[in-house]
Amino acid sequence: MSAIVMPEPDAGVLSRRMEIVKALQAIVPGDGVIHDETAMRPYETDALTAYRQMPLIVVLPETVEQVAAVLRYCFENDVKVVPRGAGTSLSGGALPLADGVLLSMMKFNRVLDIDFENRAVVVQPGVTNLGITRAVEHEGFYYAPDPSSQIACSIGGNIAENSGGVHCLKYGLTTNNVLGLEMVLMTGEVIRLGGKHLDSEGYDLLALMTGSEGLLGVVTEVTVRILQKPETARALLIGFPTSEEGGTCVADIVGAGIIPGGMEMMDKPAIHAAEDFVNAGYPRDVEALLIVELDGPEAEVEYLLERVAEIARKNNASHLRISESEEERMVFWAGRKAAFPAVGRISPDYLCMDGTIPRRELPKVLAGMRELSEKYGLRVANVFHAGDGNLHPLILYDANKPGELEACEAFGADILKLCVEVGGVLTGEHGVGIEKRDLMPEMFSEDDMKQQQRVKCAFDDKHLLNPGKVFPVLHRCAELGKMHVHKGQLPFPDIPRF
């Protein structure tokens, strides 16, 4: 393991392990409590596989009452809890704690209510993202946010990370598509937010919960909005001699008032890796490949295809193809969708980074990455959500070569620092987790982070839920609550008054 330090395990909790097991078995009977080492092993890591930690105990509750009772027990006995959905987190969000209960929500896997008239679906958090679409596609509906892991990732996890996906440019992120949820606080209290109606009646706690990475509460039920599938979707596959021209094309498309269903870019290393793997017919001699998907009513898509093609030509596109069939559209996407495994094929390991930048900064950041690649002696391939500036640099390394993981992480950290430098952010959709936790000071001051932590104090003031994630320094709530300036210490401010 590398330099990421997790909170010191509580020796008292470790010594009471079997007592805790018994107490939890009384709440979640049968195979819902796992404490055998072999049986716990699948839970020791999520998709950030370089980091592994065996939990104290694994618990798989089946009802809200069980979740509430488990959390209440842990609250009263100062036992930490790490919630887990499908374990597809790329930032270590579900990495266990040695002294913590790993709370898997995957038994909560039912679709509870499909309401086409109100265009809302109520599901349990363990239902996969694609599972929601599957439940409503017979009537031509779908759930729009489509992270690439959608076949496996859970909607509860999507809420934790405010997941996006290729189509979030046009259809929004998880936070724009969630109508309500039921959750349990660390104290065991059950709270309902929202429902099938719009807007919050008070503070927008739904907004705070979405993207909270399992730190504020455990989600036990979710209400999402569904949309009618667009009538048609067509794609353009466009190659550019330089990434600058690709970037300008993207800006021009947006500038023309067009918001495509999706816009994805790949650089040369990514294109070659993908072509070697799936042979989707991508041009090998381009520096940047842009896939633009236009979806909607047929007449609109036809019209926009022409306009986008015109913009591409104006930007010196060296290759341009328009999909003429559904099959062809899928082929255009095949290389992009296989990009990650394609890179996995040419390297023993890779680290997938996630940062967001203003779109216009792409050429500069790509150039910066090429320099860093030389500095660290590691290859990097880029997949980029061109529509919203979200980058996924894939750094290739070999964990068996001493020092390469460390070099890789340092390279990744430098990329993220560069993202922040050009006006972007550390993470667009994978979350901070443990992976980017120690880079938070690149974006936020001490005061900024303390203010965020005060939100945590309102939800979980004992810091029992997922400590060690997102924030590099854990301030105690009593410390954060202190006011430092008191009566009589400040003069009336010298500003205009009427």
Binding site: C168, K196, H197, D199, D204, K229, G255, E300, T356
Partner: protein, 395 residues
């Protein structure tokens, strides 16, 4: 000593709040004061007014991003983006006329604090769906920043969005970063007349569930001098609108004769719906009620029977604007009806200050949720100096 404090910089805003927190002097926080007749009245000795903290910090149309100072008039922002072929897609309502106040007096800070949106909310989202970043002064008198200038951002808690709709009770916004969108090339509205509420909501639901991409779905029940009007807005490129209008017309064919309103008629129609023109210039109390779309009709029927309420619907039935007859506010009946149809929330919008001080203006929350909200308030504003009592009596 009563004073209206008008800071001109973020540091001055911070200094006012810091002083107020230290001295435990509550502040009424306003942009230009256009929303004083909404929410619960705040009667304290000092007013923190942000109207002199105004102006555009950063606008990059190609990046679809705009950063503005909280005291900037909303009409200035709307004109700026319009001049650049863009829009604030959430089309915030102008509460002025409904409250008997001048038109278009609000600030962006107020729009965000009250999460003000319009008919397009059903498609494009609310104000809170368009915020990307926020710099603000907490009730502790500390400036903090959160979010950023990009849409894809899950770096820390979503404080910018979490502060939307908090009515100045958690923090005083200084710099607000918004997502802007291209303005549609043109628009049109399809109109069906004479439908019952039930048939109308059903039609709106069908339209919303189709591929026609409707961006406004409203129903105005019949009244003296006019048949009921069910309205479907379409926006985008002309070729697209023509095609979608065709799709929608076929879909609605068995409900009656579908007519089409042109672009200028469309603007006028939806401005009127957005600003609740129907109930303007009248004295009676108004409620703004959000429920599941299909529950809207049941709610309306219940309250028509019980109290003789007048209603019209937006958000394909999910937003019910309700006017009480005879000057009575009927809060118990309304809360009971919302509960009966499966939940949602009712907000008292037009009523005099005395009434707004004595009844719940916002939807009361169940105890655990109210307690959590209270703890959040305490964390942001431990001395309770920001807009005390603006949302709930105990705040």
């Amino acid at each position: 000593m009563d004073a209206i404090l008008k800071p001109r910089t973020a540091e001055e805003i911070r200094d006012v709040v810091k002083w107020a927190a230290a001295e435990e002097r509550p502040l009424e926080v306003i942009g230009s004061g256009s929303k004083r007749l909404l929410g619960r009245p705040v009667q304290v000795a000092h007013v923190l007014e942000l109207s002199d903290y105004s102006g555009v910090e950063f606008y990059e149309p190609a990046e679809l991003v705009l950063t503005v100072k909280a005291g900037t008039p909303i009409k200035e922002i709307e004109k700026l983006v319009d001049d650049n072929g863009q829009e604030l897609s959430f089309e915030p309502m102008d509460y002025g006329p409904l409250l008997g106040q001048p038109k278009a007096e609000g600030t962006i800070g107020g729009v965000i604090a009250a999460n003000v949106s319009g008919p397009r909310r059903i498609k494009a989202g609310a104000a809170r769906d368009h915020i990307l970043g926020l710099e603000a002064v907490s009730g502790r008198g500390e400036i903090f920043k959160s979010g950023g200038r990009v849409v894809k951002n899950v770096t820390g808690y979503d404080l910018p969005r979490g502060l939307c709709g908090s009515w100045g009770t958690l923090a005083v916004s200084t710099l607000i970063t918004l997502k802007v969108n291209p303005k549609p090339e043109t628009s049109a509205t399809l109109l069906l007349e004479g439908l019952s509420d039930e048939d109308a909501i059903s039609a709106l639901s069908k339209a919303m569930g189709s591929s026609a991409e409707v961006s406004g779905a409203a129903h105005l029940p019949a009244q003296e001098g006019g048949a009921a009007k069910t309205l479907f807005r379409l926006e985008g490129f002309e070729t697209s609108i023509a095609y979608r209008a065709q799709t929608l017309t076929s879909l609605l064919a068995d409900l009656g004769n579908v007519t089409r309103l042109n672009e200028s008629e469309t603007h006028a129609t939806w401005d009127a719906i957005r600003n609740v023109d129907l109930f303007c210039g009248l004295p009676d109390p108004i409620w703004r009620i959000s429920v599941a779309p299909t529950a809207g009709v049941r709610l309306a029927n219940e309250l028509r029977n019980q109290i003789g309420a007048k209603v019209f619907y937006d958000w394909s039935g999910g937003l019910v604007w309700l006017m009480c007859p005879n000057g009575k506010v009927h809060d118990q009946d309304i809360r009971a009806a919302v509960h009966k149809v499966g939940g949602g929330h009712a907000t008292l919008v037009r009523a005099d200050a005395a009434i707004r001080s004595s009844v719940d203006v916002f939807q009361p929350q169940p105890t655990p949720l109210a307690a959590l909200s209270g703890r959040l308030k305490e964390q942001f504003d431990p001395n309770g100096i920001l807009n005390p009592g603006r949302m709930t009596a105990g705040q």
